[in-house]
């Protein structure tokens, strides 16, 4: 099992670069299925991870958001901040499981 503190730091360092520009959203397949609700898109997921780590914010919406991601990586290529969006979501799932 990986050290959770390291994993947390690794994810947080990356997701904190998010500037909320929304350029990742237009390619996300789950955002459309989720009727455009931001929680089903990459920007929402990345920022829910931020809220979880920094403020401990957690409810059903967080899990719904994180576990509906297809890890298809379409969003990652769009991000001008170079955030590994899909990879961070995958790592965050590992974090939650552990």
């Amino acid at each position: 099992m990986r050290d959770l503190t390291d994993l947390r730091r690794e994810i947080l360092r990356d997701v904190l670069k998010c500037s909320y520009c929304a350029m990742c959203e237009w390619v996300c397949p789950t955002l459309d299925v989720g009727n455009g609700n931001r929680i089903y898109g990459p920007r929402g997921r990345i920022n829910l991870i931020v809220s979880y780590f920094r403020e401990g914010s957690e409810n059903g919406v967080l899990k719904e958001s994180i576990y509906t991601c297809l890890i298809c990586m379409a969003c990652t290529q769009q991000c001008p901040a170079g955030i590994n969006i899909a990879e961070d979501i995958r790592k965050f799932r590992t974090f939650l499981t552990q």
């Binding site: 947080l12 904190l16 909320y20 520009c21 920094r54 409810n59 001008p80 901040a81 170079g82």
Partner: protein
Amino acid sequence: MSDILKDLVKILGNDKVAVDPLTIKLYSKNAVYYEGNALAVVFPETTDDVRRVVKYAYQNNLKIYPQGSASEIVGSTTPRKDGIVMNFMRMRKVKEVSYVDSYVVVEPGVRLIELNNILSRNGYMFPIDPASVKSATVGGAVNSGSGGMMGAKYGTMKDWVLGLEVVLPDEEATVLKLGGKTTKNREGYDLVRLIVGSEGTLALVTEAILRITLAPERVVTVTGFFRELEDLMRCVVEIKKSKLDVLIMEFVDDVTAKITIDTIKPKIAGEGHLLITSVSTVDEAASRVKDKLVDLYAGSGATNVVAAESMGEAEALGIFEIRRNLYPATIKMASLSLRDDEEKPYIFVEDISVPPSRLIEAVKRLREISEKYDFPMTLGGHVGDGNLHPVVWIREGDKDKMEQFNNFVLDIMRMAIELGGVISSEHGVGKVKKDGLVLSFKARNSIKALSIMRQIKRIFDPKNILNPDKMLPSV
């Protein structure tokens, strides 16, 4: 659940109202720094949904904060706890496309990139291309009065909106159809253009009729580096005199070009200030136009000149890479300077314009201001129309730097005014630039314009329920 929220669910149905705090938080931020709060987020799907919510809001003094992608960078979407966010991303239909009459009828939640993907199949385009084209929605772009790289030729949103359907924040939630489908229209005061750039403070846009145009048959692009700004500007003047049909004219200053080259290692590198020029032409003339542009660059002292005869070739050669990476390079630069992994950088993009003939002076003075406040700044802009975008970053929670930032912005705005320019070109006023509005109108001895604007706001929005506290400075 409070009575208000129960009522909203009754009006719209469960599926169109979100009250969960994490969801609300995601709808209370913008693409820079501002974070607000709200009672709920509503997702109208039709004009009638909008109308029914507005009617209820009017009766109950509930504020409405309209929003598309929330990619604005001036605080024009930031909501407060006294109201609800109205997000338009479920109104996403392209209702009509007329190539014969050159217009489209679209709902506000359509992203500009989605619109252009449809139009490009028939060789057409909607020419307003903000760097945020992948996120910007029609409603957001209309209300921000957005512009983009092709501004030198095509202007900004105000030049491309023919008509609007709006819901007024009045007792009846009146629906108005303003403008129409024709380019010529002289039916009284131009209320369409009053709504364009009104930052969601006057009316809710539920449909837009936008002018479209043929995409250029061929675009020739040339880039090169200039040691002195004077040489770059000489090149700009020569190109303007040469009767070429300039589409894009972008500039990145030498310091920024170096930072960007060092951080992102683009395909094209060189030393000095970077100028990119794209010219619209036809297939047969491409080679001739390219040679002419290259000559003009070389004649003005450019080095490392790279030329492309088509947009595809320009992309393959990486001609736009440095200019497009201004913002990412700043994010990278910021990330490298952060002290620990838990810190967050905020990126601020300024947006003044000066008459293009005053650009050299503007760049010099911007550098002095940046040094005065010790803000490492990247700088690029649209030389064609004199719009400059200095970009700086601040560490989250750095209160001293934030306060300095406000003075830094004030100095930049004062400089723009002194050079005969404006304090906001395409990003808007929002919460950040209200002081700038006062400065600008005072400088022109026209402060009464602001009271006229306040009266206009009252006529449209008698109870001040629509996006309050934005754009207009309080008395």
